[in-house]
């Protein structure tokens, strides 16, 4: 190791070689963070949620969206702590209800780009009912679900996406419940854009998030991640870097997947990455807009009883 490098870095680590405000300026992505928010983030060292945050910002940047016009709505859980760090309109709601809050916000402000940010438990367990109905309505919201197959914030309980036989603090003898395939569920419920990738492939997430946000109707992006602190420790899956590596080895692109034989496809256990479903369907608030116009066109005088 060349001497000059070590001497430069012998500084006390807390002081850091770069003043804090300069760090925010050192990349376009960092400029989307909230300068008045305390960093580093709340997540465990190595957690994939921070990677997804980077992807989301780059996706928003790539679309050239106005920060004033972007709203992030989150439920409760590790993933739901993401919005507070970013310089958009951010709403941190109650567990499982992000999409219901976001539905009201989208109806009030159909012009805004709204992204609901949830973990797998937040979206699929307590939030499942709102998830399928938001998809059914095809309301213009992007659901970004970071799926690490566990409830991380509360310490490692099984979630609706925990794989069979894997352990959790509430499945000490192995999970006996078959997990939800989130993307299939969204597609069946009516989502008009569904894509999946992993935190090992953030550039794919950038692309899919940009497409999802541009999609008029209800979009789902499933970002497969990991939780080495609870799920990884309980199931002895190693460090964050180890679990990151498994995401690479244990996933396959959709194009490669499509080339598999039927039999291979049936026994495939790898996570399929890609745009899995798209559909052309009118977006909910636009349809309601035409309804309001129609009511007006039929010249039904608004009944203001008092004003004759």
């Amino acid at each position: 190791m060349s001497e000059h490098i070590l001497s430069v870095h012998d500084l006390d680590v807390n002081e850091g070689q770069i003043p804090r405000e300069d760090w925010f300026e050192s990349s376009d992505t960092l400029q989307h963070l909230r300068k008045n928010k305390r960093f580093p983030t709340i997540w465990c060292s190595g957690c994939g949620i921070g990677v997804v945050m980077g992807s989301l910002i780059r996706a928003i940047e790539s679309l050239g969206l106005e920060n004033n016009n972007v709203a992030l709505v989150a439920g409760i859980g590790c993933t739901a702590r993401m919005p507070v760090y970013m310089d958009y309109n951010t709403l941190h709601t109650t567990h499982g209800r992000a999409l219901a809050f976001a539905t009201g916000l989208k109806i009030a402000r159909p012009d805004m780009k709204i992204i609901a940010i949830m973990g797998d438990g937040d979206a699929m367990a307590i939030g499942g009912n709102h998830f399928i109905h938001a998809a059914r309505r095809n309301i213009g919201i992007t659901a970004l679900v970071v799926n690490n197959s566990i409830y991380g914030m509360t310490g490692g309980q099984q979630s609706p996406t925990t794989p069979l036989d894997m352990r959790a603090t509430t499945a000490p003898y192995g999970n006996i419940e078959p997990p939800f395939p989130i993307c299939d569920l969204a597609s069946a419920a009516g989502a008009t854009y569904v894509a999946r990738s992993t935190v090992y492939h953030p550039l794919e997430l950038d692309k899919y998030l940009a497409q999802a946000i541009s999609n008029d109707g209800f979009s789902l992006v499933e970002a497969v991640s990991y939780c080495h602190t609870t799920y990884g420790r309980i199931n002895k899956l190693g460090s964050a870097a180890d679990m990151m590596r498994v995401l690479k080895e244990n996933s396959i692109s959709k194009s490669a997947y499509d080339k598999l034989s039927d039999e291979e496809r049936e026994f495939n256990t790898k996570t399929v990455r890609g745009v899995l479903h798209t559909k052309k369907r009118p977006e909910y608030t636009k349809v309601y807009g035409t309804l309001v116009d129609r009511v007006h066109e039929e010249a039904i005088k608004p009944r203001n009883y008092g004003g004759h």
């Binding site: 680590v13 990677v51 945050m53 780059r58």
Partner: protein, 84 residues
């Protein structure tokens, strides 16, 4: 706008003689020492500081600006700038 390097994506890049070069900056204050950048850097530009708290650039010339580290850093504590 950070240009998205699509060419070199997740496949490990060969140690570059010519081709794109990158300048790596690390913000130790935000780094939580998860070692992802160090373990995945295709050309071993980074190594953990002896105190183990954060990475340091040990071989800047080898950086090919593949952006693996700054797109995989969970804490946005590392930035790579392409050098023309």
């Amino acid at each position: 706008m950070t240009e998205l390097v699509s060419a070199v994506n997740q496949a490990p890049a060969k140690p570059a003689k010519k081709g794109p070069r990158g300048e790596v900056k690390i913000f130790a204050t935000w780094c939580k020492g998860c070692t992802i950048c160090v373990e995945f850097c295709p050309t071993h530009v980074l190594a953990m500081h002896p105190n183990g708290n954060h990475p340091i650039v040990v071989d800047q010339e080898k950086c090919t600006a593949c952006h693996f580290c700054d797109t995989h850093c969970p804490d946005l504590a590392i930035v790579v700038r392409k050098i023309e």
